[in-house]
């Protein structure tokens, strides 16, 4: 191919390539607008050349974008936008009107400094890529990953968090509370005489009781509290930003929520109670496992003391 064709070829490619290309000068006047931009904006280059970008497209986020362009002029540096944070610059229709599930074209954008012979930035060239397909795949992948993670964190029977997850959460809350000097309370609770439910009414009934109790506990908690199934009929509750006095109030609320209304399944109605052990983070707490151990000791005392009660762990109590 003769050399002389190269500039023509470049013009042709810039105009017809499957990406939006447009160029603005320092006054934000449009000096180039390729076919992709024409087709998707519905505005011809000849109408736009020499016009101010923001006058012609008032829906653009002016303050932010003007700043961004100005930075390219000053820093002589590339700049970028990504659909993941800013789904689009121009609200264009996309090529998946049927199967897309998104409202308009997702765009990645590059702002490139165009320098003159003196090395000063004379123009900023925008390249706009249609990444709608990528965004759809990524969203599907994200949703699936999230779903898998959720499933992995849940106890199959009660749908509460499982032991691994609740321990992990406690570990995180433990570190956070210690770092910021905030209170943290842990409650371990156990259904009283659960073995008898299983023995008398069968395991299916036992499962149903677990589900109902789990739901009632969950409904009695605040949004920030974290509840998980810790063992067979044991539940662990993590109360961030809460001391034992608050923990005691909450434990009583839980105890009452279970005691006040019998658990019904099939034709059977059963009175169920729970015992609870409460402890809080102290300066000398070594690790989160210690908190679980203390809550377990308090729970043991609650059982010894006649069940259906909440006991707070006392570190200097000779009995504990």
């Amino acid at each position: 191919m003769p050399d002389t064709d190269a500039p023509k070829l470049l013009d042709f490619i810039v105009d017809r390539t499957h990406a939006g290309i447009f160029v603005v000068n320092r006054d934000m006047e449009i000096v180039l607008w390729n076919q992709f931009m024409e087709v998707h904006s519905g505005r011809k280059a000849q109408q736009l050349l020499g016009k101010n970008l923001f006058d012609e497209f008032p829906e653009l986020p002016r303050k932010w974008l003007a700043r961004k362009v100005e930075n390219v002029f000053i820093l002589k540096n590339f700049s970028f936008t990504s659909w993941e944070q800013r789904p689009y610059l121009f609200k264009f229709p996309h090529n998946r009107p049927v199967t897309g599930g998104v409202d308009c074209m997702r765009q990645d954008c590059t702002l490139m400094p165009v320098k003159n012979a003196a090395g000063e930035v004379e123009y900023v060239c925008f390249t706009l890529f249609d990444v709608t397909d990528t965004s759809i795949y990524q969203q599907k992948l994200k949703a699936l990953t999230q779903e898998l993670r959720e499933v992995g964190n849940r106890d199959g029977l009660t749908q509460l968090f499982n032991r691994r997850y609740i321990e992990e959460s406690l570990g995180k809350e433990f570190n956070r509370a210690r770092r910021y000097g905030q209170p943290l309370t842990v409650i371990l609770t156990d259904i009283d005489h659960f073995k008898q439910v299983n023995d008398t009414h069968g395991h299916l009934a036992g499962d149903e009781v677990l589900r109902i109790i789990a739901r009632r506990l969950q409904d009695s908690l605040r949004d920030t509290d974290i509840l998980g199934r810790y063992g067979g009929e044991e539940f662990l509750i993590v109360l961030p930003n809460t001391g034992t006095s608050g923990g005691k109030v909450l434990a009583e609320r839980l105890r009452h929520a279970i005691e006040s209304e019998p658990v019904s399944f099939g034709d059977t109605s059963l009175s169920v109670t729970i015992s609870l052990g409460i402890t809080e983070l102290r300066k000398d707490s070594h690790d989160y496992e210690q908190l679980i151990g203390e809550a377990d000791q308090a729970l043991y005392q609650a059982k010894e003391g006649g069940r259906n009660r909440a006991i707070v762990f006392r570190p200097d109590d000779p009995a504990s």
Partner: protein, 203 residues
């Protein structure tokens, strides 16, 4: 492939180039942010990637960080990682022309924006001084609120050797701090050696 450390002269030249670049970068960033910007004198060293987490932890401290990575290419090829310890995102947002409520996406965009500004200002400064030109890929988020050791775990990084350029960046009166690490391929560390030799000859 093991790499000869830079000679004392080469290391001095690199330090000089980085100092000049930092001066320019500080000026440009100050113009953009309309605030006094502090860029530390860059500390440069060649480092084995397996020592990286320890070295950077010693500089930054054991805390959760957010990180942005960005590739550069052309005469020099590698990746820059900007580590943000305190984001102070709300204040930066104002400095960068955001006038809306901050949500998670905007905070991410801010990290990317500031990461891009820092990497561009500093690397363009270096390449200008050396008479070369660099291209940049779009920055991406490497981690958000993640323990530093996890971000720089050797199994996440494929290079054995890196040129670590540590720059601390802070904006006057704003709670904002970040560190820039620059990783170059082994090939680039060699290329840079030659460029530095030429640079010294030209002085």
């Amino acid at each position: 492939m093991s790499i000869q450390p830079y000679t004392e002269d080469q290391a001095d030249a690199l330090q000089e180039v980085a100092n000049i670049a930092m001066g320019q970068a500080g000026d440009s960033l100050a113009r953009i942010l309309d605030n006094f910007v502090t860029l530390s004198v860059p500390r440069i060293r060649q480092i084995e990637v397996k020592e990286l987490a320890d070295t950077v932890t010693a500089m930054v401290g054991e805390e959760d960080v957010s990180a942005v990575r960005q590739a550069f290419y052309n005469a020099l090829r590698g990746e820059a990682i900007v580590i943000f310890t305190q984001s102070g995102a709300d204040e930066l947002a104002e400095l960068l022309g955001y006038d809306c409520e901050l949500d998670a996406a905007i905070e991410q965009e801010l990290l990317l924006e500031v990461g891009n500004l820092l990497v561009g200002a500093i690397l363009n400064g270096i390449s200008d001084t050396l008479g070369t030109e660099l291209g940049f890929s779009a920055p991406s988020l490497m981690a958000e609120h993640t323990p530093l050791r996890q971000v720089l775990a050797p199994d996440r990084l494929t290079w054995e050797q890196a040129l670590l350029v540590e720059v601390n960046f802070s904006v006057e009166k704003h709670r904002f701090k970040s560190h820039l690490l620059m990783f170059m391929t082994e090939e680039t560390i060699e290329t840079l050696r030659h460029i530095l030799d030429d640079f010294m000859d030209g002085l």
